[in-house]
Symmetry: D2
Subunit: 297 residues, 4 copies
Amino acid sequence: MQVGLIGLGKMGLNLGKNLMDHKHQVVAYDLNPQAVDEMKANGAEGTTKIKELVQSLDKPRVLWIMVPHPVVDSVISEITPYLEKGDIVIEAGNSHYKESIRRYNQLKEIGVSFMDAGTSGGMEGARNGANYMIGGDPEAWEVVEPIFHDTAVKNGYIYGGKPGSGHFLKMVHNGIEYGMMAAIGEGFEVLEKSEFDYDYEHVARVWNNGSVIRSWLMELTENAFAKDAKLDEIKGIMHSSGEAKWTLETALDLETATPVIAMSLLMRYRSLDTDTFNGKVVAALRNEFGGHAVEKK
Amino acid sequence: MQVGLIGLGKMGLNLGKNLMDHKHQVVAYDLNPQAVDEMKANGAEGTTKIKELVQSLDKPRVLWIMVPHPVVDSVISEITPYLEKGDIVIEAGNSHYKESIRRYNQLKEIGVSFMDAGTSGGMEGARNGANYMIGGDPEAWEVVEPIFHDTAVKNGYIYGGKPGSGHFLKMVHNGIEYGMMAAIGEGFEVLEKSEFDYDYEHVARVWNNGSVIRSWLMELTENAFAKDAKLDEIKGIMHSSGEAKWTLETALDLETATPVIAMSLLMRYRSLDTDTFNGKVVAALRNEFGGHAVEKK
Amino acid sequence: MQVGLIGLGKMGLNLGKNLMDHKHQVVAYDLNPQAVDEMKANGAEGTTKIKELVQSLDKPRVLWIMVPHPVVDSVISEITPYLEKGDIVIEAGNSHYKESIRRYNQLKEIGVSFMDAGTSGGMEGARNGANYMIGGDPEAWEVVEPIFHDTAVKNGYIYGGKPGSGHFLKMVHNGIEYGMMAAIGEGFEVLEKSEFDYDYEHVARVWNNGSVIRSWLMELTENAFAKDAKLDEIKGIMHSSGEAKWTLETALDLETATPVIAMSLLMRYRSLDTDTFNGKVVAALRNEFGGHAVEKK
Amino acid sequence: MQVGLIGLGKMGLNLGKNLMDHKHQVVAYDLNPQAVDEMKANGAEGTTKIKELVQSLDKPRVLWIMVPHPVVDSVISEITPYLEKGDIVIEAGNSHYKESIRRYNQLKEIGVSFMDAGTSGGMEGARNGANYMIGGDPEAWEVVEPIFHDTAVKNGYIYGGKPGSGHFLKMVHNGIEYGMMAAIGEGFEVLEKSEFDYDYEHVARVWNNGSVIRSWLMELTENAFAKDAKLDEIKGIMHSSGEAKWTLETALDLETATPVIAMSLLMRYRSLDTDTFNGKVVAALRNEFGGHAVEKK
């Protein structure tokens, strides 16, 4: 199948090669001529002019957008004038599902089918077998399924149904990920504060062989301890990139109790501060009613 | 009523004076002769010999133990040889209710009635009107109720029933206290991180006049901000003295979901650390699967 | 001061009377002629035509909107054509602070000053002394402070500063309220599941006299138990009206850890369901790996 | 190596066969003669008399206790009279690590080495490759390592060090398991309450292929949905068997914040009730201050 690939960052380049491995024809676009050249060297056609990209594709067109999510709307604006009824636009970044529903409705007005595809598995996955969760019109899905099938790992893609359902699944996936990571982190902290002296790399390896909690995250835990046995070199500052926050916000909108996901996120925020105003208020109150000493700065 | 008062620390001294204000006869004991002298100067009898104290009391004796909870068992051991059937021993410190049940059963074997009394209200309360939650035998309660009635603030005491019920109530009281304090602390932290610039003392005062959250804790919050407008001088380290931990442990034994009390306690523990092993594990995992940068020490 | 009062529901009627008690001149508007008549009978002027209301006021006008928050925007639309530069519009309902900031900016374009006033204390407060948290322009605040001063309980109002700061304070107030209520609820549940048999009305009364957790909410707890000693007649379904959700959403936006407020809200949602899909998944998993029996429907 | 195997329940029988697969000599004991016969039929020696078992073993003896944890102490009492200095006792059930430390000290007094072995992987693991976490004296470990090595799955055992360290690791493993399961359950509940209509078996399969959250628990989730697509037939009642409670209690003793493990446990308790007293108190309070309707039974 011919695919117009917009965005040749690390993910896009790997996906392009993956598509070509499976005999799909890639027409690639990026502002950066070197990235375009790299795709060309691998057998793709390519251009640094987005108008040219869209116009060069066979109709109905299949366009795959793989750009950072803050840029998605501007990319859609740029291609919209050249799109025609029947074209299909896949957006495979980390967008909020409500944004995807909005974009779906926006493109539907001109007869273009928008598909939201949550992508997991990182660069390695993009290159050799990704994980996809896709939403959009069933008619469009029928057209594009082969490219997802071919570039996914075995059993690694799902058509979730209505527009937004793909990015929704990806969002919840990340919410679960936060909870699992927090559970692992808490467990190792209990080990660390205990009276025992464990070899954490060994613990993670054993927990990953035959135990109930064996998982890819536990594999990664083993890798991390292999590099730095007590994690002495790093700080416990846990940044976050938004999808667990979306999951919790969605849970609130759905009046759903997700305490574990909530706490995993809130503890990430807590880790950003070395001291808290909250704690100061409580310490001051203990001093007020009980005369308990506060610690001065 | 004649009361043998064991322990003339700040709480004991104030309680002794409170008892005498209400025409009760106090026979006071402490190892410290100065404390005994202070009570004598206020009209009590007194001694630094515990045997003398017990033997000098009219039978059946009423003994009120007001000592730090780690010392309670040794005090009971010391007085036990001189106690007789029908005597009543009140223990008014911060003991675990299961300890109180054990002590009740221990003294019951020699016909002595043990009463557990949780005491709230601090030194000021002990002096002018305390808050009591009392458990023990109903027959003993009938005997000693007047001294609780007279030294409590109006409507400020309850006989909770079975042995242990007094300290159990006090324990749960403190669990609620932790949750309330955490709620207040979290609220002010949201204010502090917001785009607005509030006068917190003023906020606390207004929240304490006519609003749903008016409370003694909010009064204390106002006082704390009056002394240090942004709490710049103190650290947000929140120590804890055990009763919320007992509340949570008891909730676990009762298979009762107490998430707010649990989190208020866990966040106190969290505040004791400036960095966490938990956070290191999560940060390392993010780095492993997503290439997210970790912050090096 | 002359005040144009829009909305004569229970809150508006009580506020109108409160204003007149303090010699302010009320010109009242409501679609409902009976409500207008009631205000007139109390000494106000009144009309059922909003245009008439606005046009009859002395300039610069002071308008006080006291309507349910879904109606606020339509009321503002209706009055906008008749407003003039220098007029002041107070909105005293339960609006989201971001809505208030938007409305402030909208009215600023025509030179009208918008003030957001969070109101606490219920109908009784509106009548005899309310609790206010107000945001908006300082010049406008100087003009309207007297009507807040006069209708508030003593020490019961605060000018929080920038537009939105009033409704923000009210929002956080409610977040704290959720946490406090949850702490109280959890404490009583521990009592209820314990081996002891307490008189909860008595417990609440004692906790409200001399203890650290004395508060208006504890007073209300006593009242509730006075009516139904074990709350046998009601279900533990905890609805919510949005402000704690806003508090948590705001905390997430500010990357602030508010676990107690979060859990108090999530447990309200949990109470809406008698069974959960979450629980089914966990029960099924226990069955899968451990052969633990599931409970069939 | 010769092993005296005490307890031929499902785990013990499978372990016995596993040992014999690896050319170890098993002398089996159980009160149930049929179980003993089954082991004999597989090539073991066996007896229903525990004294006979102990006395028949070569010295220094290696005894492996595989009985339900409430019976462990009585088994140890029964064998103690026949044990001699240098013997090694392995306890491979789900005991609390503090019990294991106590048992270690108890047997140390007679010169017997006690080893605590947490076992994971279920019956299938016991038969074909288990997962072990072992604590105890290093000298004893050197003796018995071969039987753990041979009966474990590859990379599936760890000697954790000091007495108690094995059961401690197993306890924390289960704490992590609770958190992971809760995260998965919450995620699926968000899906279930959403506007989308997913095939959960398919979702779990895709999440288990190439995604960050791939794990054995996700495999089991797929299996569970394969049997009952929406889990319509079961109730969401989540029982628990104690080890996450121990993990949380231990975390409290260590003053360690484990909010995710805490919440995963508390939500299990919450699931045991269809209504809560907590909820009634909060609902009653909302009614008291806001006139919000309560739901009557």
